[in-house]
Subunit: 260 residues, 4 copies
Amino acid sequence: MTPPTTGLPAENTTDNNDHLVQSDDPEHPANLIPSLCAKFWTLGWVTGTGGGASIRDDDLVYLAPSGVQKELMKPSDIYVLSLAAQAQSLSRRQRVYLRSPPVYKPSQCTPLFLAAFTKRNAGCCIHTHSHWAVLVTLILEQQRSKEFRINNIEQIKGFGKGFQKSGNLGYHDTLVIPVIENTAHEEDLTEFLEEAMDKYPDTYAVLVRRHGVYVWGDNVHKAKTQCESLDYLFQLAVEMKQLGLPWITDIEPTIPTRKD
Amino acid sequence: MTPPTTGLPAENTTDNNDHLVQSDDPEHPANLIPSLCAKFWTLGWVTGTGGGASIRDDDLVYLAPSGVQKELMKPSDIYVLSLAAQAQSLSRRQRVYLRSPPVYKPSQCTPLFLAAFTKRNAGCCIHTHSHWAVLVTLILEQQRSKEFRINNIEQIKGFGKGFQKSGNLGYHDTLVIPVIENTAHEEDLTEFLEEAMDKYPDTYAVLVRRHGVYVWGDNVHKAKTQCESLDYLFQLAVEMKQLGLPWITDIEPTIPTRKD
Amino acid sequence: MTPPTTGLPAENTTDNNDHLVQSDDPEHPANLIPSLCAKFWTLGWVTGTGGGASIRDDDLVYLAPSGVQKELMKPSDIYVLSLAAQAQSLSRRQRVYLRSPPVYKPSQCTPLFLAAFTKRNAGCCIHTHSHWAVLVTLILEQQRSKEFRINNIEQIKGFGKGFQKSGNLGYHDTLVIPVIENTAHEEDLTEFLEEAMDKYPDTYAVLVRRHGVYVWGDNVHKAKTQCESLDYLFQLAVEMKQLGLPWITDIEPTIPTRKD
Amino acid sequence: MTPPTTGLPAENTTDNNDHLVQSDDPEHPANLIPSLCAKFWTLGWVTGTGGGASIRDDDLVYLAPSGVQKELMKPSDIYVLSLAAQAQSLSRRQRVYLRSPPVYKPSQCTPLFLAAFTKRNAGCCIHTHSHWAVLVTLILEQQRSKEFRINNIEQIKGFGKGFQKSGNLGYHDTLVIPVIENTAHEEDLTEFLEEAMDKYPDTYAVLVRRHGVYVWGDNVHKAKTQCESLDYLFQLAVEMKQLGLPWITDIEPTIPTRKD
C-alpha cells in the first residue's frame, strides 16, 4: 500500500503509522523537532512560520510541515518519510510519506533537508530565516561575492573540519560558507544547494541570498551547535561591518613560551 | 435590553453575559487574546499598555480593553460586541457591548479593529507599537513617502495575495504597505484606515506614522503569521537602511535547469 | 522601641515585624517587588544588582535591599519603613526601618524613592540602569543639554499630564524629562532629584546622567506603564539618532473630516 | 588510587565519586553550574557550547565539561577536582579528577579557571563568548590597545576594588580590563592570563582578543554580578562607539550642598 503524497491521508489508507510520532521520550525526533523549533522561535530563526528543522534516525526522516507556527508545533504535526522508499521512487519530486499529519501540507524545504541526509549522511538539518544570515547575504551581494569568509574568531572552533573528517576548525582557520541565489520556489533551491555541496565538500552550511541559511550536522547536537555558532558569527559580522572592521585579518599566531 | 456603552454594566443590567468569556478551551477567543498579548509583550509589540488584539468569531467580536498591562490581561478583562447589533446602532461612534469587564474602559482601537472585520471579513486584527514599525514610518517620512515597499526577500511569502484571493505573494513580488498619518485621537484614525483599505484593496496591514501598525488576517493563525513576518521585514528594513542597502532591487530570477 | 537603622536587627529587638513581608497575595508589595524586579532583569533594567523598585502602601514603604541579584530576590529580603515615623526622625539621613532583612544592607536609593513618595504622593517608584536611558543622557551631554525632549510619538500618551492633573499627555505634546548630573554617592542625588521635581512639577521621571532613570506613578500599574513607555522612547530616540532623525518635529495635526 | 585524567572513568576505578554531584540543594555547585549556564545561554554568553563556568567550594572545584550544550547541562555532566591533589601533581598539564562524567571530555578552560582559584582565591569563574566582549577587543585592536578603559558610568560600581581590598570601585574611578591575545589552543592562554593577573593585580577580569572574557569573584554572587556589569559596560561601549562617544571623559564631580 502506497502512503499518500498529498499530506492528507488517502481515503483507502487504513494505517497512517501514527505510532511513528508517538513517544514518551523527549529525545524522540517527533518530540525533539517541536521543542527545538520552539527554542528557535525565541531566537528569531523561524518567525512567521518560516524556517524549520528535520531529523534523520537511520532510514526514517522526520519533518516539520509547511505553514505551521513553529513555537506551537506538536508531534502529531510531523511528517515521516523512508529514505530507502524515497530512493526507489520514480520521480525526484514525488515524496513517499510513511506518516502524514491530518492538517498540514509537506514543507517545500523537504528536498533540501533530504540533500543533507543523502549527500552528507547528516542526522539533522536546520533551516533559519535569521535576519543576521539575510543581512550577511545582502552585504556580500553588494561586494558581488558568493562566499562568506571569516577567520581569527574563537567561535569558528564550533565547526567540524568537514564531511568524514575528524576534529574541528582551528582559531586561525578561515570558515567559508557558500552563498546560493534564491529561487522563486523553495524546492528549486535543491539543485543549487547540491551544487554548492559538490563545490564545497567540507561545508556544513549553505547561505541562501535574501532568504536564510541551511545548516546540518552528523546529529542533532552538532547541527544545533553549528547553527548557533554560525548565527553568532553572522551577527558579529554585521556588527563588525557597522563598525568598519574587516572579516578577514592576517594575525601572527601567539605562541606560549612556558612549557612543562 | 440594551447593554451599556460605557464599559461599565448599567445598573439595570442583570446579565453581563460573563459566560461569553468563560471557557476551558485555550483556543477560545477570551483565552487566546490574553495568551497572544503576553507573547506580544515579550516581543516589544505592546509595551506600556500600547497596542492590542481583537478576534472575531462569526458575529461576536472579542476585544482587549484600554489601559491594561497586556502581559497580565485576564479573560475577564475582555469586551464582547455583536457585529449585527453594532450595524443597527444609530451612531458609528456608539458601541453596543454584549459583555463588559468590571474595571476597564473600551479601547480606542475598537473602531479600527471593526473596520478590518466589516470591510475585510477578517477573523483577527493585531495592533502593535513595535519600534521597528515606527522607525520605518520615520525613515519614510524623511523621503516624504506614504508607502513601505520591499521586494526580493523570502519572508514576503508570509503574506496572502490579497482579500478573497488565494495563495501568497511570491519572492519577487513587491510587498506594499500604506502609511497613514497619526491623529491626536486613535479612533479618528478609522476613516483614514478605511480610506487606505479602499485605495489598497489587497493589503493586510496599514502602518500608522509615528505610532505603529495594524495587521489582520482571515483567522488568528494568518493574522499572527502576517504580523510576525511584517515585523521581521520592518526590522530588516531598518538594519538595511543603517547599512546603506536599498529596500527595492531589480533581480534577475534564478531558474532551475535540472528537471525530472 | 526603635527599630535598627543598620539593616540588621538590633539585639534588643524582639520583633522584626516579619509579618509585614509575609502574604499569600501575589499583589502584596513584598511579593510584587520581587516579581517585578525579576521581570525588569529580563528587560536589562537591573543588571548586576543595579536599579531597584519600591512600593508605598499608605504609610508603609517596601524597599528592595542593596546588592541583591534582582531576579533572585525573595519577600524576606524586603525592608519596610513607616513614612510617619521617618518624618519624625531627627535626621534626614537616619532611616527608621520597621522590618529589616537578616542579610542585606539598605539601598542607597532609599531617599530617592522616599522623595517620590513624600513630594509626589507616588505609590511606586522604579529605578533602572537601562542602557537606553544612559545612552540618551550621553547624547544629551554632547549637546550640553539637561532635558530630554520628544514629541509626536504615540507612546507619549503613556504618561500622565502631571501631579494632581487628570488625563494623559497627547500625541502632539512634548514629553520633557529633566537630566540631573550623577554624584559619587547615590544618596547624594536626593537633593538634585528634589530640585528637579520642584523645577519640573509635572514630570514623573528624572534621568540621571551616565547612570539611569527614576520613574514613579500614583500606583504600581502607572509607575510600570510609565517606565516601560519611557524605556521604549529612549530606545527609539537612540535609534533615531543613529539614523539621523530629529527627536522634535513640527507636524501639522491630521484632522478627521467624516463625522457622524 | 589515581582517578583518570581522560575524562572517562578508568576501568580499574570502582568509585567515580558520583555523590559529589548529587544534591537536593539548588545552591550546590553541581546544581548551580547548570542553572547558571542555562541563564547565560539566554544572554548569548555561551552560544554553541562556547564559554562556561566553574565554582570552587573550599578544596573542591566543579567544572562544566567540554562540548556540552550549556542550556541543557545536567549535574551528572560535571567534573570535580581537588586543588590540593592538583597541586601535588607532577605536571601542570595533568589533571587529577575526583569525579568525571561518563560522556564528556574535560574543558580546555580548566587551567584558566584554576588560575583564578589558585592565584586569586576566587570562588567562581565565568567565561563568556559574549559578542559585546569580542567587539570591544576588535575596536581596541584597531587602536593597537591592550586595555579596555572606561570611567564615569554608574555600573562601574559593580566591581570590587581589587584582590584582598574591601569595597567597590567608585563612579569616577576608571575600570581597567587587560586584553590578552588569543592562542590557537585555549589552554595555552593560561600563561598569558596569569601574566595579566600579575601585571593587573586588582583586576577581576581578563578580555581575550577575538574570543571573549574571563570574569571571577570571591563567590558565585560576586562573579555573576561582575560578569553582568562588565557585559553591560561592553554593550554600552560598543553603542557609544557607534554614536561617536568617548569611553573616557574628564568630569567635574558633582558635590551636594544641602547637608543635615
